[in-house]
């Protein structure tokens, strides 16, 4: 074995794989075999003419194999690429189609709900309708308007650690923060709450899924606006209460953005996708349209849950 150093080689030195193996690898990337072969040739021990021609042929074959390999690898990579992007495109298309479907169905549900409401108003009339309206507003089934408080929470800075590439997410608003804010508002006397326009009902969920916060399974993003309709002192109570102090602590410690303000005139939309879970239409009751059976208890199922 010999060692080559920048093209010079020395026929006597033994190549060692001592601790210096790595720096040797960096300094001298050429296979020492080439130097050995050259040394043999110089000593006149190389293969004879015929053998050499055969070996040259094998070299050519190896190069053919190399070209083949390169092309196959290239084609393989190219063949994989469209398959990947095709799957991605298909998924994107599916998501978009489903989303349009959802919107269309939601529109239809809203239309039907409005129709039901008009029919019911016509049938019931008077005090019963007013009472229903109030119940619906409280349950989140009808849009409401009034004075109240607006709590704004936003993610603080989330610097990326340059060493580990990890993002510090301490200053991000968590689902528990939104839960705390809405619970504080409820306990402060709020009659209706919406987070980023999503009206909360008795069965609403605020949950974290990875980095996203889902309110009733729909994603909401920073800045989060928790708007509540309630007594005039709602915002002041919130600021003074546990939640307000907690958020101020978060602002001071992590740089999260927080604000609690009073709002004079705000409209909260009705909650979407409410469905009956507990109440069922009674099997016998199939009142004819226009019949005067108004006010029967089983024909007005309470929409108490989703």
């Amino acid at each position: 074995m010999t060692s080559v150093d920048g093209g010079r080689w020395d026929g006597n030195e033994r190549r060692s794989f001592a601790p210096d193996f790595l720096s040797e690898l960096f300094r001298n990337p050429l296979d020492p075999g080439y130097a050995d072969a050259a040394a043999r040739r110089a000593r006149g021990e190389g293969p004879s003419g015929a053998t050499r021609r055969i070996i040259s042929g094998i070299t050519a074959l190896a190069l053919v194999a190399l070209g083949f390999l390169l092309v196959v690898a290239y084609q393989q990579t190219m063949a994989d690429e469209p398959a990947r992007s095709r799957a991605h495109d298909q998924l994107v298309g599916q998501v978009q189609r489903r989303r349009t479907e959802t919107v269309a169905l939601q529109d239809r549900a809203d239309r039907l709900r409005a129709e039901v409401a008009t029919l019911r108003d016509r049938e019931l009339g008077g005090a019963a309708v007013a009472r229903l309206r109030e119940l619906e507003a409280a349950a989140g089934l009808a849009p409401v308007r009034g004075r109240g408080a607006k709590i704004t929470l936003a993610d603080g800075p989330t610097p990326i650690n340059p060493l580990t590439g990890e993002r510090k997410t301490e200053a991000e608003v968590k689902d528990t923060d939104l839960q705390l804010a809405s619970n504080a508002l409820w306990s402060g006397g709020a009659e209706a709450i919406a987070i980023n326009g999503q009206r909360l009902t008795a069965t609403s969920t605020i949950r974290q899924a990875g980095e996203a916060i889902l309110v009733d399974f729909r994603p909401v993003t920073s800045p989060y606006e928790v708007v509540a309709i309630g007594p005039d002192s709602l915002a002041a109570d919130f600021r003074a209460g546990y939640a307000g102090r907690f958020f101020e602590e978060l602002v001071n410690r992590y740089g999260m953005a927080y604000d609690a303000a009073e709002v004079n005139d705000v409209t909260l939309d009705a909650a979407t996708d409410l469905n009956l879970r507990l109440a069922r239409p009674s099997p016998s009751a199939s009142p004819l349209p226009g019949s005067s059976r108004s006010g029967t208890p089983d024909s007005t199922p309470s929409e108490g849950g989703r």
Partner: protein, 110 residues
């Protein structure tokens, strides 16, 4: 000259036959290519150094590809396939860089 012609012949063969790689071999293809490139750049450098040897080139080409494949296969069996692939690529990459630097010194004297 013959070498370039052989390379082109290989490329043409690949295009003409358009072989499909069996799924089991697919993870080894990129490693095999890197190993082959290492042998090729070593050969080119040896040529420019004036010490090129056909036998040495063929042996290093075949053994590079095989050894790289075996190492990755072993790694896969041991559950460290990804890390070993990285190791192989790093070592071969260092060698390729060194050889290309030497080739560059030959060609541009810089």
């Amino acid at each position: 000259m013959i070498a370039v012609l052989a390379l082109i012949a290989g490329v043409v063969l690949g295009i003409v036959f358009h072989p499909t790689v069996p799924p089991g071999l697919q993870p080894y293809l990129p490693i095999a290519v890197v190993a082959a490139l290492d042998a090729v750049f070593g050969g080119v450098r040896a040529k420019l150094d004036g010490i090129f040897d056909d036998k040495q080139f063929v042996v290093s080409f075949v053994s590079n590809v095989l050894v790289a494949g075996v190492i990755v296969y072993l790694g896969d069996q041991l559950g460290v396939g990804g890390q070993l692939s990285t190791g192989v690529v790093v070592v071969l990459g260092v060698r390729i860089f060194g050889n290309v630097a030497a080739i560059r010194r030959h060609l541009f004297r810089a």
